[in-house]
Assembly symmetry: C2
Homo-oligomer: 492 residues x 2
């Protein structure tokens, strides 16, 4: 099955409606289409082929939005890169995905150049140049009008449990179903305006762009999150929905002070783990409708959400799966009853069909994705997530996988074993903390190991401390017991 | 692909929300599920098999709604029968569909008995009995939890151009996509309440029931249309959306007098052909947001709609296709440009895959349905329907096909040829008018021919006059020229 390119359809239905607001820039859907088609034409003329992977390295911007919407016209796949990654990490993704095109914004010109040094075949394309208002020559091949529902639109890397990041394949149908499921849950008004202040290279941000063209609603884009600006947008720019993580919301409330949001503001979509009680209580007091959500890259954004009416009665719950989603709690292949914990297993049209270059992984079974997350359902069917993906931690809204940090530590010649776990962090919620067993004592110190990490890991993944220990806690089978690691900490 | 049964999902997400209001009866989604599962259990115990066709003959009622929602649990298909049809017409549908189960309401007990006389194998089931609050025994086989997206949920007969009614296959995915497309166009609020005063055996009524469980909104059911009651529901029962045809709207406005609908009333969904200008002007004056729509049984309700802002600038237009729909104007296999008329050809996930027992008909080509309707697109892409299905006329909201009436007339031994066309009718908009060539003069008169028709055709299909003529207007190839028929009328 094919479907018409969403932006084409949207621009034909409601050409004059506002698609994007960003600072002084405002684009209607008709204008957005014109620009996206222009960019698509330029990309085709640069030799971009169908099903090729095109990476982009850019902060949130109108130009990036245009690029996202130009992709369907070319038949290529978009791989949005996390701008916080090191060159080392970026290289891995470019190589693993066989990517030959990298579009970069001015801020990342140096990084792009360094990547090109390593990967000779990489074609660098400046986002500014793509966006420049030159009349594009006729495309070397025709712009597409339709897309295959099952075709891959975007690829997003996520580290998972293996230590090696994997490219999650997100099809048109995945994105479509995610948008439809969200709408059935949150409702839809032509007056809606969604504030995008989370990164577009994460599914939380990218999915807002999809909803915008599918729903026909405006997106307000803020390049980086600033509590004052975010509050401004809600107070006086007509924003009705916003996507946040706890930390953002805390800072917004602080900045908001005694003021209250207008009635029209109808949804604060809160991802990245359950919110602390005091935060929720403040929101109730202020009449802010918080919708807590559980989702991941593999489910193309929200999978389950908790409605505002349950904010205080179901604290810690991620609510119920969206309309098209099915959820089971499994333990040793058995479906668990209410109250019993097990692995969260999900199915639905928004769930990825798999990872790039990975033979149908263990994580999939007849359409069911084994998330690696642990949780249970209560008697009324509300989901409680106990543990994200076997020890994953969330630091300032970014997922951090201990296994990935351990792999980097162990790549140092002096490190024999490494174990990473999470520790509470006042600002970021959680932070990674590392424990290493060295081959010889006193040859490297914490500083040198950190240097080693810095060259290979994004800042938010860096351990806040690296402790040297004699041995790591392991079970009988030799499996690392990450939960036990903190017991090795010197008593303070 | 499968999906969870909608009512199961809905009752799990929002068990307490109101699903149905009908007079004093009010059912939540949890209660609706309980009743639907009870009815499904009884049906299974009566031997209803997967993929069997179950017909129902009933006025709109809560019991009928419950029956509609019980079907997915059984895996059978529902065939809602038009209660205005004659026994002769009903028999055709029951036989053509191989139907072995007929559920009837008390009002149609006699008809059901007569059908049983003709069709010995028919199992009659009283709707009242199904609905009775007896504790159902455990089902003879398990209730289903999932449905195949492509499985047929409902079969609705439509006469088309051949004179033989054909069963339109409506899959779960067709209904789902129709509901999603409508929502993307009209928006959705949890406060929505849809007034159902059109027949449930037509797609206009049935589709409201689908939207109710998919959206989680209440349906207000009125057994028969009454302008005063309909206005009451809008004025004081919180109805926000209503489906109507022109004639209903005219009568409601008359009854409404000087009053105005509350602000919360946000959509008057007007089907069954374009509305007359004075009606639209009155609606503009009164601030009633009319959404005109073009759709058919084969598209599971709306395919294109005209938004209120274009009510007076695009008079006569049916607007633009919904988000997932594609539309072309074809003439001799060529796509026509703006302004050029041709056959309306449509594609989309809400479009039926075909007709029951019909080899992939001429009407389908690579997923495109040739509607038989004639129209054109203007420069801005707005659809204008010039002619419904090769001479179809719409009488009081019911589709009437000349070919079907002609076939009945010609089945009379004294009729050699018959031609039927439409004539304007003050109350019903249009009415059929017939012309016959007799084998011998003066053997039958108009009265006798009408008797013959009455036994075989629903009342609304009866010609308002039957004229005897010497010959019918035909083209060189002998094709009947229905448009020319009225020229044969005696000048009055």
């Amino acid at each position: 099955m094919t479907m018409p390119i969403w932006l084409d359809k949207r621009a034909s239905l409601t050409p004059g409606r506002t698609a994007i607001e960003a600072g002084n820039v405002q684009l209607s859907f008709a204008q957005l289409r014109q620009q996206a088609q222009g960019v698509a034409t330029k990309l085709l003329n640069k030799g971009l082929e169908e099903r090729a992977v095109l990476a982009c390295l850019s902060e949130s911007s109108v130009a990036l939005v245009v690029l996202v919407h130009s992709i369907p016209y070319t038949g290529a796949c978009l791989m949005p890169l996390n701008t916080r990654l090191t060159v080392h990490e970026l290289l891995y993704q470019l190589q693993d995905s066989g990517c030959k095109f990298l579009v970069y914004s001015d801020s990342y010109a140096d990084t792009a150049a360094r990547l090109k040094q390593e990967l000779n075949h990489l074609t660098l394309v400046s986002l500014a140049e793509l966006q420049a208002l030159s009349t594009a020559a006729a495309a070397s091949r025709q712009l597409l009008h339709d897309v295959e529902e099952q075709a891959v639109y975007t690829i997003m890397y996520t580290s998972g449990t293996t230590g090696h990041p994997k490219g999650v394949l997100q099809s048109y149908n995945n994105h479509w179903s995610s948008a439809v499921g969200s709408m059935l849950n949150l409702g839809l008004s032509t007056q809606d305006k969604w504030l995008l202040a989370v990164p577009m290279f994460h599914i939380s941000g990218l999915s807002i762009l999809m909803r915008s063209v599918i729903y026909g609603i405006a997106v307000v884009i803020q390049e980086r999150f600033d509590p004052k600006e975010a509050n401004e947008a809600i107070m006086s720019q007509g924003v009705t929905v916003m996507s946040v993580v706890s930390n953002m919301l805390v800072r917004m409330l602080e900045q908001l002070g005694e003021r209250r949001y207008p009635q029209a503001f109808r949804c604060m979509l809160l991802g990245g783990g359950p919110a602390p009680l005091p935060l929720l209580e403040t929101c109730v007091e202020k009449g802010i409708p918080v919708v807590q959500t559980y989702g991941m890259t593999e489910t193309c954004s929200q999978f389950a959400t908790l409605q505002p009416e349950y904010m205080l009665t179901k604290i810690g719950s991620a609510g119920k799966p969206l309309f098209q989603g099915e959820l089971r709690i499994l333990q040793d292949g058995q479906v668990m009853s209410a109250g019993e914990a097990g692995e969260i297993v999900v199915r639905g049209p928004n769930v990825t069909s798999g990872y790039l270059n990975q033979a149908s992984a263990d994580s999939f079974e007849q359409g069911w994705l084994h998330t690696g997350d642990v949780g249970y359902l209560d008697e009324e069917g509300f989901l409680y997530v106990l543990d994200r993906r076997k020890d994953m931690l969330i630091s300032g809204g970014e997922n951090v996988y201990p296994a990935e940090i351990e792999a980097v530590l162990m790549s140092h010649p002096e490190v024999l074993e490494a174990g990473v776990t999470s520790t509470e962090h006042e600002v970021w919620g959680q932070s990674p903390i590392a424990f290493v067993v060295l081959r010889q004592e006193n040859v490297v110190n914490q500083e040198k190991l950190l240097e080693h990490c810095k060259a290979r890991l994004a800042k938010y993944k860096l351990p806040i401390a690296i402790h040297t220990v004699r041995e790591l806690p392991r079970n009988a089978a030799g499996k690392l017991l990450r939960r036990e690691l903190t017991k090795l900490l010197p008593i303070t």
